[in-house]
Amino acid sequence: MIVADRKPLEEILEMVKGCNKVLVLGCKGCVTVCNVGGAKEVGVLASILKIARKKEGRPLQVDEKSIERQCDPEYIEQVKDIVDQYDAVISMACGVGPQFLSEAYPKQRFFPAVNTTFFGGATQHGVWVERCAGCGSCVIHYFDGMCPIARCSKSLLHGPCGGSANGKCEISKEVDCIWDKIVRKKMEEGRLDDLMQPKPAKDWRSARDGGPRKSVREELVQ
């Protein structure tokens, strides 16, 4: 899923400083699963915004709503009757949400309440980790299910580098060296030969480097 973090309150207050009435709009997709932008977090943000503005002596009216997904025009349609009632709308979805909303309702202003961070999952309650860089041409099968593009700090295709020590990356003892794991697994399973074939330079056209991407499924296009 897409993982995100809530922006600091000060940053959101700065965005809405000229507003008297805003809508905080949650998304029931990824950001609900990673506990950052679902109905519960919408309620929390609405409360702290109101409290903060009350303290400033400039009360802010904050309404709350959540929709199924903000990355789908069908659901975005659901706010069409209310969206113009506000000075601005604060989206708690990933970066897709405020953009799809802006495209659907060009006269309204949409502010992001979260920083979209990565594609990943939860390893334990409250901890999310990056697993995919969305490079557009998956190589995980070469590396026993581990992605060096997303998980090696240098995205090396032939690791580990000289900075790997005790299974940790040179950038931080908090960061596992994925290449250490890949190599150990290959050795354990007697398949080290898999790593002995040099890989050609990666074709980055399918990644963000090739420009903004689009996926067209002809059979679904009407």
């Binding site: 330079a201 990666k202 074709d203 980055w204 056209r205 990644a207 480097d209 420009g211």
Partner: protein, 311 residues
């Protein structure tokens, strides 16, 4: 060095003295063919105030711009070091800036660079750690504050004459002058424009620039590339992003007739230069004679920009 000068480059001195500047351009070889580079540069020697050395232009790999600049210095031709943001992060950018300055380079043109999809390694990862606007500001900071991007002190700062590009023809047209103004605020000392073919539009652009006084804050050099053939004109019109080639020019070239198109192209370029010499706000011409360096002396002569001033 004169204390009033930012870099002491020949180009800066020519412009500061109020002369109409005339700069040239040369693409490094697709290889380490030093002799070929020297031969091309020989045609430009004495004909222009500085020679732009392109940096993997159109995203095609060539000899590095900084290395080619040092070859020009050996040939006693002043280079204008072009740097694009596509291939380097901020570490490499700053170290290359120090490197070229250490070798004697005094002019630098700051560019974003063509996307690698146009070039011969479309599979490449692009960098764009910073963009051209930020690059201009960075070179200025290194020069004027003596500091790196991270505010650490530089031990002997690079005194470069800072150039930037401007495309008067890209969309939205009304924003182009604003973007030019931003580059000047960021620190550009001089501007070299995209190749100009649509003179009406360029006149309008310059009028807007002059109306807000940009020509007083920065030297604006008008870009000229002579058309060699009708095919080249059509290619530029259709396939080069941000290029505005009016149909009337293509018609004029076509009507010149077989064997006379190149002459017509040069004639148009000379007419343009004559007009730029009179146009308010234009401080000089940047002649990009692509793989036509040997024709530069003739164009310079016919355009009446010779001899180049000694400053």
């Amino acid at each position: 060095m004169n204390d009033d000068l930012k870099s002491g480059s020949n180009l800066e001195k020519v412009l500061k003295a109020g002369h109409f500047a005339f700069t040239g351009e040369c693409g490094p070889p697709k290889g380490a063919n030093v002799e070929h580079l020297k031969e091309k540069v020989a045609h430009l020697k004495g004909m222009v105030d500085a020679v732009n050395i392109t940096d993997n232009q159109t995203a095609v790999v060539r000899m590095s711009s900084w290395a080619a600049c040092t070859i020009l210095l050996q040939e006693q031709v002043e280079p204008n070091f072009q740097m694009v943001c596509r291939d380097r992060n901020r570490l490499a950018i700053q170290s290359d800036i120090l490197g070229v300055y250490a070798m004697g380079v005094r002019n630098m043109l700051c560019l974003s660079g063509d996307h690698q999809s146009f070039g011969n390694h479309p599979q490449a990862k692009n960098v764009y750690d910073i963009d051209s606007m930020q690059l201009i500001a960075l070179v200025k900071k290194m020069r004027d504050e003596g500091k790196f991007m991270n505010d650490e002190d530089i031990d002997v700062s690079p005194k470069l004459f800072i150039g930037a590009a401007s495309n008067p023809f890209a969309e939205p047209f009304d924003f182009r002058v604003h973007r030019l103004a931003m580059k000047i605020v960021a620190g550009a000392d001089f501007i070299q424009t995209q190749c100009i073919y649509n003179m009406d539009r360029f006149r309008e652009f310059m009028k807007k620039a002059v109306d807000v006084g940009l020509h007083e804050k920065c030297y604006i050099l008008a870009g000229v590339t002579p058309m060699k053939s009708v095919g080249m004109a059509q290619y530029m019109a259709k396939s080069v992003p941000g290029m505005d080639v009016p149909d009337s020019l293509i018609k004029r070239l076509r009507e010149a007739g077989k064997g006379k198109v190149a002459e017509e192209g040069i004639k148009f370029a000379v007419e343009q230069i004559e007009e730029f010499k009179q146009m308010e706000g234009v401080a000089g011409v940047h002649l990009m004679a692509i793989e036509w360096e040997h024709r530069v002396p003739e164009i310079a002569e016919r355009a009446g920009v010779l001899p180049r001033p000694k400053v």
